[in-house]
């Protein structure tokens, strides 16, 4: 097996687990948000998103299996909140929605867009297309919730918490050197960004999409910018 197929198999298996967790998170958050904002369209979007994520889990797992990396998923998996315990229920929901949708789903959408600008093996491209159509909505529902909360409640408390969200999002090796046997062209064909491209997309998305979006809705992104500069070795 080539190094690219091995790395891609691991990436798609990881994505399957990520998608499974997202389904659990969206199901839980839909109930919480509906409890304090019954007029919001977001809970319905989240329930549909949970169904999307379960389908994505299967797609990613199938690709991982085809690349020689079968993934074992726990059907009874549970998912705890990632919000700081000091937040009340409404703040905790907003924290999770911003972390999961405004940051992670937005980053995922940028990754998918970048991948789809290149060429992939047919089965891989079909999966990328299918998932990207849904991920647009998953990112939007985060910005939808943040925009509503910025009108209805206080959201500035999130500013100092952005670094924690970012630290929990990235892989340890994102700002390190690529693996010595990395084959960028082969990885792209298998639906995986080479490390340098992944870093470029991550940074650009934060600086030009996520941080301006947070600022627009009253969340000061400055602590996030400082964290990013430090993590990326720019300060």
């Amino acid at each position: 097996m080539t190094s690219a197929r091995r790395a891609a198999g691991e990436a798609w298996a990881f994505r399957a687990r990520v998608e499974q967790e997202a389904a659990l998170r969206f199901d839980r958050l839909a109930t919480v948000v509906a409890g304090f904002d019954p007029g919001s369209p977001v809970p319905a979007m989240m329930r549909r998103a949970a169904d999307d994520e379960r389908r994505h889990t299967e797609l990613c797992a199938r690709l991982a299996h085809g690349l020689g990396n079968p993934v074992a998923l726990d059907p009874g998996a549970e998912l705890a909140s990632i919000a700081p315990h000091s937040l009340d229920a409404r703040q905790a929901a907003l924290y999770e929605v911003v972390a999961a949708c405004c940051i992670t789903e937005t980053e995922s959408m940028a990754t998918l867009t970048t991948l789809l600008a290149g060429e992939q093996e047919p089965e891989v491209r079909e999966v990328l297309h299918s998932i990207s159509k849904d991920e647009v909505v998953h990112s939007r529902m985060g910005w939808a919730h943040l925009s509503r909360e910025s009108v209805a409640a206080e959201v500035a408390f999130l500013g100092p918490l952005i670094p924690g969200m970012l630290a929990g999002t990235i892989d340890e090796g994102l700002f390190g050197p690529p693996p010595p046997d990395e084959d960028p062209e082969a990885l792209l064909r298998l639906g995986v960004l080479p490390l340098a491209k992944k870093r470029e997309v991550f940074l650009g998305t934060l600086e030009q999409v996520v941080f301006p979006g947070l600022e627009r809705f009253g969340v000061d992104p400055e602590s996030g910018r400082r964290w990013l500069a430090h993590a990326a070795g720019l300060s």
């Binding site: 990881f14 990520v18 967790e21 998170r25 904002d37 007029g39 919001s40 369209p41 990632i82 919000a83 700081p84 315990h85 000091s86 937040l87 703040q91 999770e96 972390a99 940051i103 992670t104 980053e107 995922s108 959408m109 940028a110 990754t111 998918l112 867009t113 970048t114 600008a117 647009v136 990112s139 939007r140 529902m141 985060g142 910005w143 939808a144 943040l146 925009s147 509503r148 009108v151 209805a152 409640a153 206080e154 408390f157 100092p160 918490l161 924690g164 969200m165 630290a167 929990g168 999002t169 990235i170 892989d171 997309v201 650009g204 998305t205 030009q208 999409v209 979006g213 627009r216 809705f217």
Partner: protein, 55 residues
């Protein structure tokens, strides 16, 4: 990568999606706006919060 387009599609598109019934929401929750968050929100607890892994 067209980040400007992503901003428009995701951030601004999301805000528009959330605007459904936003007026009613803002009226119903006007009192909440006056409530200040705890000064130590996110800092007092030992858990500083985490993030969500993605693609």
């Amino acid at each position: 990568m067209q980040f400007k387009k992503l901003f428009q599609v995701l951030v601004l598109g999301g805000a528009m999606a959330g605007a459904v019934a936003a007026t009613a929401c803002s009226q119903a929750n006007a009192q909440d706006k006056a409530k200040k968050p705890p000064a130590d929100a996110g800092t007092k607890d030992s858990s500083a919060g985490g993030g969500v892994k993605g693609w």
